[in-house]
Every structure is written in structure tokens, then in C-alpha cells.
Symmetry: C2
Subunit: 181 residues, 2 copies
């Protein structure tokens, strides 16, 4: 998400893939040891994603993606990030040893993803309208992440979301940022 | 956290405790089914915490807590929220059936809490200085949450943080919001 936002805002940044589990150097910068972390001048770290979006907006010559005065937009952003986080929580559960997995946790995250997609499908224009640049980026990234880590089955139930995902996914920023083939 | 922010900003709001697992009414408003959710006019929902903080700032007659232009402040906010989230993840792990718990997950979250507290202790003034109102609120809430859900042992290692927590915890906003005795 952060990478797509940076590319869409045409900000110059160097992208580095790190193994977050062995990246002890990161701890000094971001004690949460979480990605994404934006490092400025090898010194200051900016996180989480939302702080990085704001930073890219400030660095960009293009009109900002985020309107800090709009809590309605902030909530749409929370929803898209929440969809991704539900998918990440699902993923983290599935990589545990089989006998340490919790069916309740898996069900809860699946239901959460389902509700989020239903919510967006019912307010399609709020998330995909002409001026909804940040919403489209975050929704596009989240839907592809669901495809990648959970399932593509939602595409039958939410065909407009699927069509949006396919169309948005054709953008250069998305093609460059895709972590898989 | 959101409740303390609302009280500190002297915003009028009604506080309701809900059972988030059975609160189907919430799904229409917040499909993530997460708390806190701020509901305006029974209609619009604002989430997550950060969006609620911004909303309370907009509703308040007091000077705002958040400077939307400061990504450095946004990162300090992320750190305090991240400390709470690590503690929540620890808690959620400990309430699973014993044989479904993962020692790796517990260790990871404990180490994350430890790193966060060490980071703040090393930059104490950045988080507790005179003008650091939002930082103090979020740090104060996070440290009490660690006390409540994990352990008070950190107090020996980080005595300045412990002194801050005790002092900040005496505020009315904190006393009113404490979910336990």
C-alpha cells in the first residue's frame, strides 16, 4: 500500500525488502519491528502506513491524497486497512503449526473480510468515485491481498468489486508493487 | 484511549459498553466489528481510534491535540498504539485454549512491548514534555494496559516511565475511564 501511494504521488524513495524477523537494525528506528517503515536520512523513521501516506503527500508535488479534515475519509481508509489486516491475521493463523491453529480465529477473520467487502460493495461509489484516489489505492491493494492470501471466491459474490480490482490492478503502480508474478 | 481523549478535549459524548462479539447492530456501522467506534446521529460511524481522535479535535473548543502536518507526532502516536496492540495480541493469545497457544507469538509480543518501552524511556521528553498532550494520553493509557493485561514487572526496569504512569494516571480523565477498580 505504502509503495503504491509513493509511486502514485511520484515521490522519490528507495524500496528495500527486509526480513523483518532478523532485522535488528530496524529496532532502533521502529521498535514495533513492523513494515512498512519509511526511513529518512538514515535517521528518522516514519510509521505506520497512515503516517507514511501523510509523509508522501507532504513530499509530493501532486495534490494530496489525504484530507486531514475529513474523518469520513479517515474511516474509509481504516476500513480498507482493516480488510488487509483481517487478511493478514488470517494468514498468520494459517502459518502456525496445524495443531496450534484456532478455527474460531480463522472464522472470525473470514467473516470480517466478508463483511468489509459487503460494506464496500454497498457503498461502491464512496470508495471508487472519480475523486476517491486514496480509497481506490487502498481498496485495490486490499482486494489483491485477499486474492493472494485467502481466496478469489469473493469475486463471484461481488462482481463490481472484482471488475474494479481488475481494472485498478492494471495501473503501473500496482504492477510494479505486486510481490508475486 | 478514545474515551480519555474525548474527556480531555471536553467533548460531549455518550459512552456505551457493548459485547462486540454479539453486537450485530454494529456491523452496519463498522463491518470490522471493532471498538472503539464513534457513532454520530445514529448514522455515521467513525473509526479507528485515530479517526476518532481527529473527530474529537474537530468537535472541541480546546486547542487540537493532533497536528496533521507532523508525521513525527503521527509516528509517536503509532508507537503508543502499537504498544497497546502488542499487549492486546498477547492477551488474545493467552485466552485461547492452552493447547492452541503459541509460545512464539507470546514471546514476540512480549519482546515488542519491551522494545517499545525501552524506546520511549530513551526518548522520555519526546513523549512526556509539556506540549506532548496526545503522546502523554496514549502513553499513559498504554502503560496502564500493560500493567493490567501483562505484567507490572517493567516498572523496575523503567522507573521514569513508572513514575510518569502513576502521575498521569491520577488525572480525572484516567480515573473515570479505568475499566477496573
Amino acid at each position: 500500500m505504502a509503495r503504491v501511494v509513493g509511486l502514485e504521488q511520484r515521490v522519490g524513495f528507495e524500496y528495500r525488502i527486509i526480513d523483518v524477523y532478523s532485522a535488528a537494525f530496524l529496532d532502533r528506528l521502529n521498535p514495533l519491528r513492523q513494515i512498512p517503515t519509511l526511513v529518512i536520512d538514515d535517521e528518522e523513521a516514519i510509521f505506520d502506513s497512515r503516517a507514511i501516506f501523510a509523509c508522501f503527500d507532504a513530499m509530493s508535488d501532486l495534490p494530496p491524497l489525504i484530507d486531514p479534515a475529513s474523518t469520513t475519509q479517515a474511516t474509509r481508509i481504516s476500513l480498507c486497512i482493516g480488510l488487509s489486516e483481517a487478511c493478514l491475521a488470517y494468514r498468520m493463523e494459517t502459518v502456525r503449526p496445524r495443531n496450534r491453529q484456532s478455527p474460531d480465529v480463522l472464522d472470525k477473520q473470514i467473516a470480517r473480510m466478508q463483511r468489509c467487502m459487503g460494506h464496500v460493495a454497498g457503498r461502491f461509489d464512496d470508495f471508487t468515485g472519480e475523486d476517491r484516489r486514496i480509497e481506490k489505492i487502498l481498496l485495490g491493494c486490499s482486494l489483491e491481498y485477499v486474492d493472494y492470501r485467502f481466496s478469489r471466491a469473493w469475486r463471484n459474490e461481488f462482481p463490481r468489486l472484482a471488475a474494479f480490482s481488475d481494472q485498478f490492478g492494471a495501473r503501473d503502480s500496482m504492477a510494479v508493487s505486486r510481490p508475486y508474478g
